[in-house]
């Protein structure tokens, strides 16, 4: 099977979001998780600009310049939603009221260290945003990213090479090749892409992988890459 595209990775992560959860979805790829939440599950999407109960992206006709998410997308408010100010929104995040945040990343280490904020573009200004707050304080930090860099290097590492967003925070990683849990003993693989051997996945990783006894197959429906 082909590696998952980015939309399929978002789909896969979305399947694990449970009823009633308060969820923050990172800018870019992770926000698409909200499009694939299994039917019948009701949860609260928190956008760090203060929209509590973010709904889907607005249609062109319904788009309102004042109703945006943290990624400047024009969105809607879901039933039961409201808007709070930034100081309160981050009080909510830092106070541990977010069940899950799904973030993009450059690197994740076997101890849960996360690097997702500094891509080190020469002379470009630093871009931090809310990632450090989310990574430090969400009850559970999930990462979605390609398993490897464009040049083929690993993103799952013994230790991050890029500046950290937060130490020891990542609980799960969804990649185009696998679903991996971060445990006190390091990476534990729960699902692997069909047709990819454990040894091949290990070869594409920069840290030792363990495989769960019930390690299953990573599958996703056909979805066009939206990102």
């Amino acid at each position: 099977m082909q590696p998952l595209n980015r939309t399929q990775i978002a789909w896969r992560a979305a399947q694990d979001l449970q009823d009633g959860m308060v969820v923050n979805l990172g800018i870019g790829m992770p926000v698409h998780c909200s499009d694939y939440i299994p039917a019948g599950r009701e949860l609260v999407i928190q956008s760090e600009n203060g929209v509590i109960g973010a709904g889907p992206e607005a249609t062109a006709e319904a788009a309102d310049a004042d109703l945006v998410d943290a990624g400047s997308r024009r969105i809607t408010i879901a039933p039961g939603g409201t808007v709070i100010d930034s100081a309160w929104s981050f009080a909510m995040i830092r106070g541990g009221h977010i069940d899950v945040t799904v973030l993009g990343a450059f690197e994740v280490a076997a101890n849960g260290d996360l690097a997702n904020w500094d891509s080190r573009i020469p002379d470009k200004g630093p871009l931090v945003g809310g990632a450090m707050d989310l990574a430090a304080s969400a009850k559970s930090v999930w990462v979605m990213m390609e398993h490897n860099t464009r040049s083929g290097g690993p993103r799952l590492l013994d230790a991050c090479t890029l500046p950290l967003t937060a130490p020891g925070c990542v609980k799960r990683v969804y990649t185009d090749l696998a679903v991996i849990e971060v445990t006190p003993e390091g990476f534990l693989v729960h699902e692997v892409l069909e047709g990819l051997s454990h040894a091949a996945l290990q070869a594409r990783s920069g840290a030792t992988l363990r495989f769960a006894p019930d390690c299953g197959v990573l599958r996703a429906p056909d979805l066009t890459d939206e990102d």
């Binding site: 945006v68 981050f90 430090a136």
Partner: protein, 224 residues
């Protein structure tokens, strides 16, 4: 004398902003930028400003016009990256060492401003602990977890965008326009709000989102 915080124009509202002023500017994610006031401040031409704004480079904010006009000495923000591959004016100045920059996690940025308005000179936060961004900052352990000490941010002036106001300076916000406005309004000695409309009757008590106590001047957007 009846309280009435309306002033005639954005230009009049910022006329006494001095060289070297610390200026907060609301807005995030495309909403809530106090752009009329920012342009008036650019026209005012006060120099050596410290700008406290979530993003130094958001394309829908006119903050960049202050930077391009050479009025800004220092920026405190959580996002300082221009969108294109090339360097924005801000990034060029930063590269050349001609503009100061302090970058904070967005939640720390928000909380520092809230603290500045709430009489809290400093607080501990988990955000940024163990990262390059907080290197050199004081840390401390509480309940088995590590935290960074961060100090409050205050300003001379806050430029805040809101939806409705009344003569008392009470404000409402439309949707995500709210963002940094309420906290910034509390943390500045002089808060100027740019609003869609100043209504003649007081805003109903339960609809006030920011009490007028925090607002000194009101300008109707587009009315300059």
């Amino acid at each position: 004398m009846a309280i009435d915080k309306r002033v005639a124009s954005a230009a009049a509202a910022v006329a006494d902003v001095a060289d070297g002023a610390r200026v907060m500017i609301s807005g995030f994610g495309g909403a809530g930028f106090a752009n009329d006031l920012v342009l008036a401040l650019r026209d005012r031409g006060a120099r050596g400003l410290t700008i406290i704004v979530n993003s130094a480079t958001h394309p829908l904010s006119f903050t960049h016009t202050l930077i391009e006009a050479g009025l800004v000495a220092h920026v405190i923000c959580s996002a300082a990256r221009g969108r294109g591959k090339g360097l924005s004016v801000f990034e060029q100045l930063y590269k050349d060492g001609k503009i100061g920059l302090e970058v904070l996690p967005q939640g720390t940025f928000a909380e520092c401003i809230r603290a500045g308005g709430a009489g809290i000179p400093a607080f501990y936060t988990p955000s940024g602990y163990g990262t390059d961004l907080t290197r050199g900052k004081e840390t401390r352990r509480f309940g088995g977890r590590d935290y960074v000490l961060e100090e409050a941010i205050q300003a001379d002036v806050a430029l805040v965008r809101a939806d409705m106001a009344d003569r008392f300076g009470n404000l409402t916000f439309r949707h995500a326009q709210k963002n940094f406005g309420p906290a910034m309004a509390t943390a500045a000695r002089l808060t100027i709000a740019e609003v869609r409309v100043v209504q003649e009757t007081p805003i109903a008590p339960e609809r006030v989102e920011l009490p007028g106590v925090y607002v000194q001047r009101l300008v109707v957007a587009g009315g300059a």
